[in-house]
Symmetry: D2
Subunit: 259 residues, 4 copies
């Protein structure tokens, strides 16, 4: 009746620790970087030099976005629970959902499902047109396009796509993403360049990372950034000031005037 | 009355994104690995080649420990909330507290406070004796020593200390940690070798990472491992089986027999 | 350019605290129960005696479901981070997502959107038929029906619907939910009685609680249950045993045999 | 070798659900309020009428404190992850740590450990003096005293202590807490009235709730308040405005001026 529990992530004996089939102390420590271990964890094998460069680049892009809602939430949480750094980081990660991490996931899904359905011989330009028009009809936003600050071009996209090309990892997913951006700009009559999450969704697809896991790339990378935000908060705390201002302003219309 | 809010983590304009003072697209992407960005985030500068090797090694050690309570919690959470991968990772990270992540933090604290109080001329052997006896008197466990599986020697410690030495990063913190291990083994009359968290606490101290942030090293690294566990759970789910067994067994003494 | 921040949840002065427009010390403490405050928080007014009975009943239903994935995750988290009871409860709540809390939300949404679109004169039997057939066609599960253990009838549903009727709160939402259950049983050719989450979704709709908040009823109620599970875990810990068993079994196929 | 897993929280069969030994549908729904179920969950028995009044009062006190760091964090999290209301509530609860929920816990611990060590015949005035002076010597803050807004008297304390007295639940814990407040005011030469968390810690002790669980009272109550804050945020969102202001101000010193 019961099903055997099985996992292949890691195991150990008295004298060694195996991670994804590799001896941690003998074969990984001192030889393999944190980013490459992340690749190993997700793919079950170490990356080639080219894959390493590109995979590290997309995760590096996701580490630090400054004073985001997620970073602010982490700092406010640390203020209330300084005993639990892990709780502050967890609170921050909880905001990497549909609006933020979901964007790379949605782009990857659009590309992966699009190319799977269209098949290996698909005409990418036609497929891009079809993707844009189906989004237009159902009034859905196309993931991975446009940016409120980097309106004309997202400098991260340019660099990430260049790195993918230099390393032989710019294939049909990247091409389709770029065509979707061009087609959308035409159809909507305004610049809709591929943004960083669009580039990441496309390149993760080239690396054969399933779209369901793509938001996880943002989650793992942002965990690093959030630890660093907590460290800055320890040294120069902002939470009390943020709290005081927001509480005062948001309740002032209810509070009796004091004169 | 109000205090100016200030952060130096990142900022951006229409055409560039700066992370810790570096141009992300120009100077970091394709040039700097994820582990080195973690170093940059925490230290405000990029690592030397030696620092990079050693810092990557200590974080790599923390990524994947197999089917820990934290990984099981993440999988159970994903089962209930498959819409929120970030929630499953957050749930897993919440278990990286005093018992797990806290151990590297406690070791680093013991070393950093010990050496600060004793001063630059301190006799390390005498300091180690004093640390062990004060823990013995107050019946506190000494962080960073002993392991239920790696009883005689922790293979990660051997490798991490060797890497620190090869890279010129084995100084007084590492020496003190080793002396504490030797002294404790003598005093308690059983083998208490420095374990992986003791080695990490010591080496993080060599890298001048404040002890308060050391549990964050475990948190950021484990986020990577937890994303990979969720991916395995997507492909070969264990949560339903774990739930069924535990629920059945834990309530069977209350349930009326059915014959 | 900036928008004024405004909230009406609570405010205070040196000598009083106002919660949702009521003086906490004068008008609420000793007079109003926890469940009624939950109603006040969500609805902006205190409940009538009838509303109180019914609202307390639906939230009470959601407090304690035994050794769920959520409860197990909370206990495993507490094991790793005993300094942070709040972290263990948060980990448990993170599993109250689409699969568990989402079910009451989905039922409420189906009823609220169904009745809004159909209008006040709608023929409920026809609407139920339409709801069931549209789910059948698109192969979606109908929320709020069927239960793996309470196969024939869910005793909570019987009681909750009886309480709603006795208290004048059984209107068109409850009727529609029941009709959907009958129609689905007919269409699918097997018993699909309204389960507890279906009843809660329907009654919450009678209380004019928006469907988007319905999963929040499960979240707030389960927080109570999770604190109690942590208390039991403090007294009779299960986490270490659960961990040991799962780790051993799930990695045994990889571990070299020891004879 | 293995230990039997056992829990007494709940169990069910095809036709009934038992919660802490009570038949949920028959004996609890419609008869027992949410607050009384919380008492049942923690104590294993239903409260008397007096206990119910007092227990509901202390939990009601903890539900809603306005725009706290915890509420702001929950709103910011919801902004990033609107698919996961549970994640937003969890993020908010993670801030109910040492600084907030910990305060009732610390007060209860001080009282429970103080009275246990001093024994049933203890002179409470002498014990209060000893508690205050030991805190003074070790420069530790005394939990449960003083308030930045309710400086002279905390209106919640007055009411909670009155309710405890009226209901026969004002014993040696409440007396000791009050004596500690008087003694501290004398010793420190300024008004240090018992605040709400001091009153809650004392009354929870009268109800024989272990101090380790007292922060859980805040966690369960605040979960209710946080769901209501998310509901307000759905209707009148503040998160985007808060984010925009904080990001702009905190990075303006780094950003090049635009003229």
């Amino acid at each position: 009746m019961t099903r055997k529990l099985k996992s292949d992530m890691a195991w150990s004996t008295a004298d060694r620790i195996m991670v994804r089939g590799h001896d941690l102390a003998e074969d990984l420590l001192g030889k393999v970087s944190l980013g490459d271990i992340a690749f190993l964890e997700l793919k079950g094998r170490l990356p080639s030099k080219q894959e390493s460069t590109v995979f590290n680049a997309i995760t590096v892009t996701l580490v630090e976005h400054g004073m985001t809602p997620s970073a602010i939430a982490a700092r406010l949480t640390y203020f209330g629970a300084p005993e639990s750094l892990q709780g502050a980081v967890a609170a921050g990660l909880l905001g990497i959902g549909d609006r933020f991490g979901g964007s790379a996931e949605d782009a990857a899904r659009m590309l992966q499902e699009g190319l799977t359905e269209a098949g290996p011989q698909a005409d990418l330009a036609a497929l891009a047109k079809q993707i844009v028009s189906s989004h237009q009809e159902s009034k859905r936003v196309i993931a991975g396009l446009g940016h409120p600050v980097h309106k004309r071009v997202d400098p991260r996209t340019v660099k990430l796509f260049a790195l993918a090309a230099e390393n032989g990892l710019s294939g049909r997913y990247v091409e389709l993403m770029q065509l979707v951006g061009q087609e959308a700009s035409r159809s909507f009559g305004r610049e809709l360049p591929v943004n960083a999450t669009g580039a990441i969704g496309a390149i993760a697809s080239e690396l054969e990372i399933p779209w369901r896991v793509c938001r996880g790339l943002a989650v793992m990378a942002r965990a690093i950034g959030l630890v660093a935000h907590i460290q800055e908060e320890m040294d120069e705390p902002l939470a009390a000031e943020i709290w005081a201002r927001i509480e005062e302003e948001s309740s002032s219309h209810n509070r009796p005037s004091t004169d």
